[in-house]
C-alpha cells in the first residue's frame, strides 16, 4: 500500500526548548519512587518484626492440603439441619437487607454534606467527615451493646447494630463517589438556573446512583456473609451456626455452610450486576 511516513525530530533541539519535559528525574518520579520504596520498606520491616519464616512458610504450604481433606465432602449431616441452616440464612438475609437499607438512606444525606463539591464550607464537611470517622471507629460490639440496652436482645437490635456499623462506611464511600463525579452535567444544570437541590438531583444523582447502588449491594452481601454482629445480639442467623461449627471443629458442616453462603453471595452479585448495568447501560467490551 502506501509508503509509511517516518517521523523524526532532533532530540537535542527539542530538549533545549523544553528542558522540563526531558528531565529524567522529575519531582513526580522521585515522589513515586520514594512512596514505593517506603511501602516496600515497611513491608520488609513487617516481615522481620512479625517473624515471617520462609522455610516454615514453604513447609506450611504443603500442610495446607492435608487440612482441606477435613472439609470434604461438605455435609450438613441430615436434612433437618440443612433446613435449619436454610432458615437461618433467610433470617440473616432479611436482617442484613433491613440493616443495610437503614444505614444507606441517612448516609446518602450525610454523604452529600461531606462532599467538598456539594458543600464548599470547610467546617461542615470537615465535621461531617469526622462524625463519620467516629461512627466507624466505634466497634461493632459496642454498637450491639448500646442497642441491646435500648431494644433488648433480638433481631431488631441486630438490624440497628448492622445499620450503625455500616452507616459510617457508607457516608464516607458515598461522599467520595460524589466528589469524583464529572462536573460538566452539574454545570449544565446550574446554567439552566437549577438550585443546589436540582443540581444534585439531575447533575450528580444520575452519575453517583450506580456507584451507590453497587456499594449498598456489596455491603448487603458482606453483612449476609459475616453476620457475627447479628449473632452477638441474639438474633441467630447463619453466622451463629458458622461460628458454632468452627468452634466445635465440624469442618464438613463449615464447608457446607460456606457453600450455602457462597450461593447466596453469587445470587446477590448477579442481582447487583443486573441492577448496575440497567443504570449505567451496557457497553461493548475491549476485544
Amino acid at each position: 500500500m502506501a509508503r509509511r511516513p517516518r517521523l523524526s525530530a532532533d532530540p537535542t533541539a527539542a530538549a533545549a526548548r523544553h528542558p522540563a519535559l526531558f528531565r529524567r528525574v522529575t519531582r513526580a518520579r522521585i515522589a513515586t519512587v520514594l512512596v514505593i520504596a517506603a511501602m516496600l520498606g515497611l513491608f520488609a520491616l513487617g516481615i522481620v518484626v512479625l517473624e515471617f519464616d520462609g522455610r516454615r512458610f514453604v513447609q506450611g504450604l504443603f500442610r495446607l492440603g492435608e487440612f482441606v481433606v477435613f472439609m470434604v465432602p461438605p455435609s450438613t449431616g441430615n436434612w433437618a439441619t440443612f433446613m435449619i441452616y436454610l432458615h437461618a440464612l433467610a433470617e440473616t438475609v432479611a436482617i442484613a437487607l433491613l440493616g443495610t437499607l437503614l444505614a444507606a438512606v441517612p448516609a446518602i444525606a450525610v454523604g452529600f454534606l461531606a462532599a467538598e463539591n456539594v458543600v464548599p464550607q470547610f467546617v461542615i464537611h470537615f465535621l461531617s467527615r469526622r462524625f463519620l470517622d467516629t461512627v466507624r471507629g466505634v466497634d461493632e460490639l459496642i454498637w450491639a451493646l448500646i442497642w441491646v440496652n435500648v431494644v433488648g436482645l433480638g433481631p431488631f437490635a441486630g438490624v440497628l447494630a448492622v445499620a450503625s456499623a455500616n452507616f459510617g462506611a457508607f457516608g464516607k464511600l458515598f461522599s467520595e463517589a460524589i466528589e469524583a463525579a464529572d462536573p460538566r452535567p452539574v454545570e449544565g444544570v446550574a446554567s439552566a438556573g437549577g438550585g443546589r437541590l436540582a443540581a444534585i438531583r439531575f447533575g450528580l444523582w444520575p452519575q453517583v446512583a450506580p456507584v451507590i447502588a453497587s456499594q449498598v449491594l456489596y455491603y448487603f452481601e458482606s453483612n449476609t456473609r459475616s453476620a457475627t454482629i447479628i449473632g452477638i445480639v441474639g438474633a441467630g442467623g447463619i453466622g451463629l451456626h458458622l461460628a458454632e461449627q468452627i468452634r466445635t471443629l465440624e469442618f464438613q458442616h463449615v464447608s457446607a455452610l460456606v457453600l450455602m453462603i457462597l450461593a447466596t453471595v453469587a445470587v446477590i452479585d448477579w442481582l447487583s450486576t443486573l441492577l448496575r448495568f440497567s443504570i449505567i447501560g451496557r457497553r461493548e467490551t475491549v476485544g
Binding site: L98, F156, E179, L242, V254, R283
Partner: protein
C-alpha cells in the same frame, strides 16, 4: 409558553408524546416493579427482624446509658477529670496499636495487590471472555466468603501461631473484598479514553495502564485505605491466631466491663481512623487533581 419556541399543534404532538411516553413507560414500569419488590422485601424483613418502633421510641433514652458508663472511671469520676488514670495503659496500647497497624498494613497491601491484579479480569467492559470473568468473580467470592476464622485456622495449622497466619487470612479476605469493589469501579469508567488507546493499537495491558488506570486510581486508593481501616479494627482474627493487637484489648475490656479502658481505646482507634481518613482525602485529591494547574 416559551415565546422563542414554535409550539406544535396538539395533533402533531400527540404522536410524539405517545412515542415518548411509550418508551419511558417501559422503563418506569421496571422501576416501579423494582421498588414494589423492594417494599415487599422490606416488609417481610421487618416482620422477620421483629422491628418494633414503639419499643424503640419508648426506650431510646437508654441509648446514652452505656455511653454514659463509658465516660466514667472506676472511681465514678468523669474520665476527663483524670486523664492520666484514664489512659493508664497508653504505652502498652500505643505499642499494640503500632503492631496492629503493621499487621493490617501487610495484610491490606497483599490483598490490595491481589485485588488489583484480578479486578481487570472480572470487569465486564474490559474483559471480553465470559469464562475468565466468571472464573475470576467466583474466585473472588470464595476469598471473601470463607470466613477469616476458617482461613486463620487453616493457616495456623500450616504455619504455626503468630502474626503470619493472621496476615495471610487478612490478605486473602482483602483480596476478595477489594477485587470486587475495584472491579465495579473499573466497570464505571468513561469508555472514550479506552477507545482512544485502542485506536492507537494499544494491547489489552496498555489499555488498562493508560486508559483505565488513570481514571480508577483515586477510587482504588480510597477503597484500599478503607480496607486498611477495617483491618486495623478487625480484632477477631488477630485474637484467634494469638497475635493480640489493639482490637483484642478492646474486646477484652468490653467483655470485662472496664468502661474507662473501653473509652480510652476507642479514643485511640477513632483517632487512628481519622488520621487514615485524612490521609485518604489528601491522597485522593492528589490523584484526582494530579497537577491540575
Amino acid at each position: 409558553m416559551a415565546p422563542s419556541i414554535t409550539r406544535l399543534s396538539d395533533t402533531q404532538l400527540d404522536a410524539m408524546m405517545r412515542a415518548y411516553d411509550g418508551a419511558i413507560a417501559a422503563k418506569r414500569r421496571q422501576t416501579i416493579l423494582g421498588f414494589a419488590i423492594l417494599a415487599v422485601a422490606v416488609a417481610i424483613a421487618a416482620q422477620v427482624g421483629e422491628v418494633d418502633l414503639g419499643k424503640f421510641g419508648a426506650n431510646l433514652h437508654r441509648f446514652g446509658d452505656y455511653v454514659g458508663r463509658l465516660a466514667h472511671l472506676d472511681s465514678g469520676a468523669i474520665v476527663l477529670s483524670d486523664v492520666g488514670e484514664w489512659f493508664w495503659g497508653l504505652r502498652r496500647w500505643l505499642w499494640l496499636l503500632g503492631e496492629t497497624l503493621l499487621i493490617a498494613y501487610m495484610g491490606t497491601l497483599m490483598g490490595a495487590l491481589g485485588g488489583f491484579m484480578l479486578c481487570f479480569f472480572a470487569a465486564r467492559n474490559l474483559m471480553g471472555s465470559a469464562v475468565v470473568r466468571f472464573a475470576t468473580k467466583r474466585f473472588l467470592e470464595v476469598c471473601r466468603t470463607v470466613p477469616e476464622m476458617v482461613f486463620a485456622l487453616i493457616f495456623v495449622i500450616a504455619f504455626g501461631l503468630g502474626p503470619v497466619p493472621g496476615v495471610l487470612a487478612l490478605a486473602v479476605h482483602s483480596t476478595g473484598a477489594l477485587g470486587k469493589l475495584f472491579c465495579e469501579v473499573v466497570e464505571n469508567i468513561d469508555m472514550r479514553p479506552v477507545d482512544g488507546v485502542k485506536a492507537n493499537g494499544g494491547s489489552w495491558v496498555e489499555v488498562v495502564r493508560f486508559a483505565a488506570l488513570p481514571q480508577v486510581l483515586s477510587n482504588f486508593a480510597s477503597y484500599a485505605l478503607l480496607r486498611f481501616e477495617v483491618n486495623v479494627r478487625g480484632a477477631a482474627v488477630m485474637g484467634f491466631v494469638g497475635a493480640g493487637g489493639i482490637g483484642q484489648d478492646l474486646i477484652e475490656a468490653i467483655r470485662k466491663f472496664y468502661y474507662s479502658d473501653v473509652s480510652a481505646l476507642l479514643v485511640l482507634i477513632v483517632g487512628t481512623v481519622m488520621v487514615i481518613d485524612l490521609a485518604t482525602e489528601r491522597l485522593r485529591h492528589a490523584l484526582l487533581g494530579l497537577e491540575r494547574a
